[in-house]
């Protein structure tokens, strides 16, 4: 079997706020295989966002070890992490985070710009990504000229344009109405079927049903790990199991 795309062992993240230390994530261990669709749920402050930041290489853990696709990334510096995000990871945010002054296709090609892809190849790749989210005819629209659902589709195209192994979606339907939210989820599910691993944060149980696996967090700890049919999966051994 292939190496899991995500292998976390005993990940912890502490924040120091004034004199207080907040344990945002405590002793988190997990294996996620290539092609899985995982939803992360939990109340505010449960650690799910922190977990997402660590998995997305936006942050480094205070303790523990994280291997992305077999590569240990827990000790990389900011620029190395940036390179890693550029090559391996796509992000989808609740508030889309599109550049207001740039057209849809310019937004989509942004990760390629930082990857140093030449302009011609970049445009072709971006056009292909827009095509796969069904927005070919909107390529030169500005974000202000697009609907919420269309903006999120542009954001998804941006997330997949560099053909990442992993897409992280932080409440991608949070700013959309139910109908549009379902369309977006259907799109993510389709991408997942094409082989992209998706990790999704959501509040809504309904959204989580799109995933094959659901993680529940509370007070900085992973408390439940279920598959789609509701079976409790075997918790991966934490801490002492060395990679």
């Amino acid at each position: 079997m292939k190496t899991p795309i995500i292998q976390a062992r005993g990940l912890s993240r502490d924040y120091t706020v004034g004199a207080q230390t907040v344990n945002a994530l405590i002793d988190f261990s997990i294996d996620i295989r290539h092609g899985e669709f995982v939803a992360i749920m939990g109340p505010s402050g449960s650690g799910k966002s922190t977990c997402m930041h660590l998995l997305g290489c936006l942050d480094t853990p205070t303790a523990g070890k994280y291997q992305l696709d077999g590569e240990d990334v827990s000790t990389l510096d900011a620029d190395a992490l940036a390179g890693l995000r550029q090559r391996r990871i796509g992000f989808v945010f609740q508030s889309f985070n599109l550049l207001a002054g740039a057209s849809a296709i310019a937004n989509v090609e942004l990760p390629l710009v930082y990857g140093g892809v030449p302009r011609v190849g970049r445009l072709a790749q971006a056009a292909a990504a827009l095509d796969s989210v069904g927005l070919t005819d909107r390529a030169h629209y500005l974000p202000t000229q697009l609907s919420g659902g269309q903006m999120q589709r542009v954001a998804i195209a941006r997330a997949i344009v560099n053909r990442p192994a992993l897409v992280l979606a932080d409440e991608p339907t949070g700013a959309l109405d139910t109908q549009t939210g379902q369309e977006i989820m259907a799109l993510l599910a389709e991408l997942n079927r094409s082989g992209i691993t998706i990790v999704l944060i959501t509040h809504e149980a309904e959204i989580a049903t799109y995933a094959q696996r659901v993680l529940f967090f509370r007070d900085g700890r992973l408390i439940e790990d279920r598959n789609a049919s509701g079976d409790l999966l075997v918790r991966p051994p934490s801490g002492e199991d060395k990679l």
Partner: protein, 410 residues
Amino acid sequence: MKLSDSLLSAAASLRANKLRTALTTLGIIIGVAAVIAMVGVGKGAQLRIEEAIQGLGENVLFVRNGTNVAGGVRGGANTKISLTEADAAAIVTGAPSIRIAAPTLRATGQIISGNTNWFTTIYGVGDAYLQAREWQIGTGRTFNPNEERASTKVAIVGQTIIEQLFSGQDPVGETIRVERIPFRIIGTTRAKGESSWGRDHDDVVFVPLSAARSRLDVGKRYRGSLVRDITLKAHSADLLETAEQEVTDLLRQRHRIRPGAPDDFYVRNIAQYLEARAKSERTMAYLLAAVAGISLLVGGIGIMNIMLVSVTERTREVGLRMAVGARRIDILVQFVTEALAVSLIGGVIGVALGLGGLAATAHWGDWPLVISPLSAVIAMGFSALVGIFFGYYPAHKASRLDPIVALRRE
């Protein structure tokens, strides 16, 4: 991220805030334009003085007749005529700093050639005078000693006379009438041009001193060997002051002026006066350029200010760019490029505006136009430095943002 991408990205974000970009650029435009204009004006002042000195001839001093005092009424310069040709001869032998002493008479009057006439100034001089004032002979020749001694009716004319009386044709060999007396033209002088205050150096006729004295009306006023003034040329600029002293002492002695009594002549050191004026005008221009430089600096602070605002406003954008793979250096380069673009665009417009201002000053203000490509290059370089210097801190601040914090910022 490639440089071309940085430029495109900078152009996009500058376009997104047109008014703000324009106002920030304006600070640099004003600064650069002021520097260019002030340096140009300073150079113009210098050129004007240099021209004046050139028109005058190098290291030239003048001795003029003094003031007549009759019953307490002082008559002004040249009312007590006491300078003679002998004084001039004595100065050359008695004042070691002086190379040439040329006695002159001067008259104004109508000159006639064929059926045209012209009002001009006639100088009674010798070849020494032409040398002292650095008149170059164009066509023909200068006076020979014989002509200078024998009151020969020959003349050398300036370019303006050629234009006015001979329609630009070479007049050597032609005859002009001065006060009805015919003078044969033996030579012409090369153009000296106009002095910056509008006097035409070339509107002039030279005749031998002896001829002016014996044949023209002016000779009746300056009887015997009296002259209107003596033009002196010192050996070097350093000797001008010494020369002034030597000539004053010598003439007081020759004119038997008692100690304490006033001179009956004036020694004018115009070259030195012009040098002093050139120096003060240069100082003034550099002072103005320094003030202009400060305004450029203020423009730079404007850039820094607006870049700091921009970084704060675009924190989420920075976070997003970092999330999709921008390294710190990419963010740094992006913001520095924006600051640099503002300052360079401002620099280009400022140079154009400054040069335009100079051209306008030259056109309407009767001021020599001096365009110094070097000062344009320096002003551009300086504005680029200003952009990088004041853009760096905000850009550095942006590049140090934590992507998580930046993405969460509203």
